[in-house]
Subunit: 278 residues, 2 copies
């Protein structure tokens, strides 16, 4: 089964919501935790308790683990493994991007079933060209895992590069979306969602067209950053059933109490219902 189909199944009961695990310094401090690997471990365990049986897609932010080197990565491994064992899908937010055998190394790190960091999906960055990412697309196809390619992000510094148009007037972000759509086309022809998703900010005034994507859409910018449920639906259009808003700050702000975080997840997910699956 493709990652897109797994995600639609999960959303049918849990809603179309992606919740981040973002153990940055200020959040560790506001939870009363030390800013070290012990704090990181405790933060991660609380998130696993709160999200593993409530959220369709959980997104650990790799940078906040990497900051603590190998000790941080050991906690990330445990976090990913426990979340997946307990039944939710995990996208590791790594934004990796390289070429050839190096890209294959990253693909293996995040999507190979035998890797200690093995995740359901990974985020990648296309500055080296969309098809420099082929090794991760191939591994995803092989194992029914997912890839989210950065396309149009919501940060203001991104516009200069991502909105730039080619001679035909097609923006870089639209080119990325169209190339992802081409990889999903064989699945879409069968009425199914493919493995290749994109990242699209929910606060964009001129987002790329997504109507033929046929894969999942990760949408940061909802909640604290201003994006609403109707923004998500409007940007995603025909692909709204595949749009997964990423909400982190407002949910993590209700921690470390696990029941409070579960409540916050339930309230937020109610704004983004999934669709029944046959």
């Amino acid at each position: 089964m493709t990652f897109g189909e797994k995600l639609l199944n999960a959303a049918s009961t849990r809603g179309r919501l992606c919740v981040g695990i973002d153990p940055h310094e200020s959040l560790l401090t506001s939870w009363g935790l030390p800013v070290n690997v012990d704090g990181l471990a405790e933060f991660s365990r609380a998130c696993v308790e709160a999200f593993a049986d409530t959220v369709a897609l959980v997104k650990p932010q790799v940078a906040f683990y990497e900051r603590f080197g190998s000790a941080g990565f050991a906690i990330l491994e445990e976090t990913i493994q426990t979340l997946r064992e307990r039944g939710c899908l995990v996208v590791s937010d790594a934004k990796r991007g390289d070429i050839g055998s190096t890209m294959a190394g990253y693909a293996s790190a995040w999507l190979d079933p035998a890797s200690p960091l093995s995740s359901d999906a990974v985020t990648v960055s296309p500055y080296l060209g969309f098809h420099s990412l082929d090794p991760v697309f191939e591994l995803a196809e092989q194992h029914g895992r997912g890839v989210f390619v950065l396309a149009a992000t919501s940060n203001p510094e991104a516009r200069e590069l991502q909105d730039q148009q080619n001679a035909d007037g097609v923006s870089i972000s639209q080119q990325i979306v169209d190339q992802a759509a081409a990889l999903n086309a064989p699945y879409m022809a069968q009425g199914k969602a493919g493995n290749i998703g994109v990242v699209i900010g929910a606060t964009l005034s001129k987002p790329p067209r997504l109507s033929t994507l046929g894969g999942a859409i990760l949408m940061p910018g909802v909640g604290a950053q201003g994006g609403t449920a109707s923004d998500v639906d409007e940007i995603a259009g025909d692909m709204a059933h595949l749009a997964f808003p990423n909400v982190s700050r407002s949910i993590l702000a209700t921690g470390p109490d696990i029941a409070e975080m579960k409540n916050s997840v339930a309230k937020t997910a109610a704004d983004f219902p999934g669709f029944p699956r046959s």
Copy 2:
């Protein structure tokens, strides 16, 4: 002292050469090593022996360590620390790129003196916009560390994105170079090299202009991939003293014998002499 100045000092005695540590599967196998963390550790130790007192700039490829999760990162930490203790500069080839506090997390991971992965420099990727990388530029300035921003890479899939021109006819890769140059300008005004470098393929037929960069240039594509010493000089122009070709395959192919690798380094470095420093 800036990273650029440290690099010029190192090059004055060791030559302008960056040698990669690329423990990919086929190389481990051809060295007679197992494809696991033990093989990774032995490969890395041999590279440290061969390069630490011969090469100006050593570039471990993070993907090949990440592939083994936290256990791989532990070996990477040891490799970086030993190389630096023994007197060479280390650029971790991580190609990270994110925004805000997440980018600050990556900056801290690779450039904070207290991090177990603390390196002299790190490679970063600008798909989220050049100034999304500000947190890593700021940390580099603070500690005299270096950043190499991907600008014009040598892989064919990159052309489509990196050569795309804005309304003024300026390519994306040139925009990246110009923005890096702006950060180095205060140092260049004093006749010094700054902290912000770029990555430029040595095999490009239409490279961006580098004459005002004022920072280091990492140039993959030399040696096995076809780039020559005269290509490096021609592309770098006025900045040739700051151009560091990255040669990995041809040197690593002479391993695991350490004396052979040292010989290969000496021969290669002779093609890229540094300049005396006052």
